[in-house]
């Protein structure tokens, strides 16, 4: 419940986060026309044309990447993942992609859909403007097969910031966090490790050592947690302050733009930069 965003109806004093969410859903109205158009093509179910990236290094004839076309039924509510699963089950059982929970929680199916990093299960066909729908594996990561990319490096970066709570456990009680502090880290806890942000980041693409938005966001979540000792915070800041830590971010806002969980990533990275400066500034 606490991770749920509460939308207020009042126009005037919306929080910046709410404003951003509103902007993200603004294009909704424009798609309405297309939606009705698709629905009105006779009695039969509307179909969607998928163009899917294919590549298989283990089969001689498939070593050269190509795009396969699928025409799959897409009634209202069909997600890109649904369409892919239909294509796999009905047309080509060799079509490979990761998926698990189908409700934007597991973070397995981050894909490059119509030129943007999105979760296949969170993206409804009707919400996409372009036809055919282009489905590609995440950019900036090496492709293992079809839509499956090598996530090893991403996980390494996440591990590098020690993404676990390191507070002292008191003897008898649980570790209580103040409401204010919980609010502060709330958005950062929503990360599902899908790797969309890392894939969208230009800097991470050019600098393999750069921690990347997801890892810095993870570090933010724990560094801002007041239950951890100052020593641990210092230790966390030491990781972030390195040359390839927070300072590589050039505020392109690509990560914030694509994050399926609407985490204000750039904001968090900038805050860690300021923390790093505060950490090292000495006036005497």
């Amino acid at each position: 419940m606490s991770t749920q965003l509460q939308r207020t109806e009042t126009e005037g004093d919306e929080s910046p986060q709410e404003q951003r969410l509103e902007r993200k859903s603004l294009a909704e109205g424009e798609r309405e026309a297309q939606r009705t158009e698709e629905e009105s093509t006779g009695d039969e179910t509307p179909h969607v044309h998928l163009k899917v990236f294919r590549y298989d290094p283990e089969v001689e004839a498939k070593r050269e990447p190509r795009f396969d076309d699928f025409r799959v039924p897409a009634p209202q509510g069909t997600t890109v993942l649904d369409a892919l699963m239909y294509a796999r089950d009905e047309f080509d059982s060799t079509l490979t992609f990761r998926h698990s929970c189908r409700q934007a929680v597991c973070g397995s199916d981050a894909l490059f859909i119509n030129g943007s990093q999105r979760l296949g299960c969170q993206t409804q066909i009707q919400d996409l403007d372009q036809r055919p729908v282009r489905v590609e594996p995440l950019p900036h990561q090496e492709v293992e097969k079809d839509l499956v990319v090598d996530m090893e490096h991403f996980y390494d970066q996440m591990e590098a910031v020690e993404p676990y709570f390191q507070g002292e456990t008191p003897d008898e009680e649980e570790q209580l966090q103040s409401r204010e502090n919980r609010e502060k880290v709330k958005m950062s806890t929503r990360c599902i490790w899908c790797g969309a942000c890392q894939s969208s980041c230009n800097i991470a693409a050019g600098d393999n050592e750069y921690l990347g938005p997801a890892a810095i966001n993870k570090a933010y979540r724990f560094a801002m947690d007041e239950r951890e000792d100052d020593d641990i915070k210092k230790h966390r800041m030491n990781i972030l302050e390195q040359e390839h830590g927070v300072w590589r971010c050039q505020t392109q806002f690509s990560c914030t733009e694509v994050c399926p969980k609407d985490i204000p990533l750039t904001e968090h990275i900038q805050e860690m930069k300021r923390e790093a400066v505060k950490d090292n500034l000495k006036f005497w």
Partner: protein
Amino acid sequence: MSQSHNRGLIEDFGRWREFAPGMWAWIFHKFTGWVLIGYLFTHVAVLSTAISGPQLYTTTLRSLESLLLVRVLEVGLLAVATFHIMNGIRLLFIDLGVGLESQDKSFYASLVLTGAIAVASVPTFLSGAF
């Protein structure tokens, strides 16, 4: 997996239509920055003619100013410098954590301001050029 495929094509500039405002701001900032560095060298070169005396400096500047291309480029230079300053201020605010929510709007604002200032400078830079 024995092998994996590294695609060069997907991340190229051909995707420019999908670039977000923040990305454009970054590209323009880099571009204008490099232009300004390039200009700095020509600027120093032109100024250094004064070492050989005021005569040479005056003739160099006069002959440069008589070229229509130079007059037009001056407007471009002003636009480049203005955008770099405007976006620099925008980045400063972003670094301070101020107005991160309207980063796209502030980018558009710096574009509009740049355009307005460049247009307003045309009479000054191009007067008597034609």
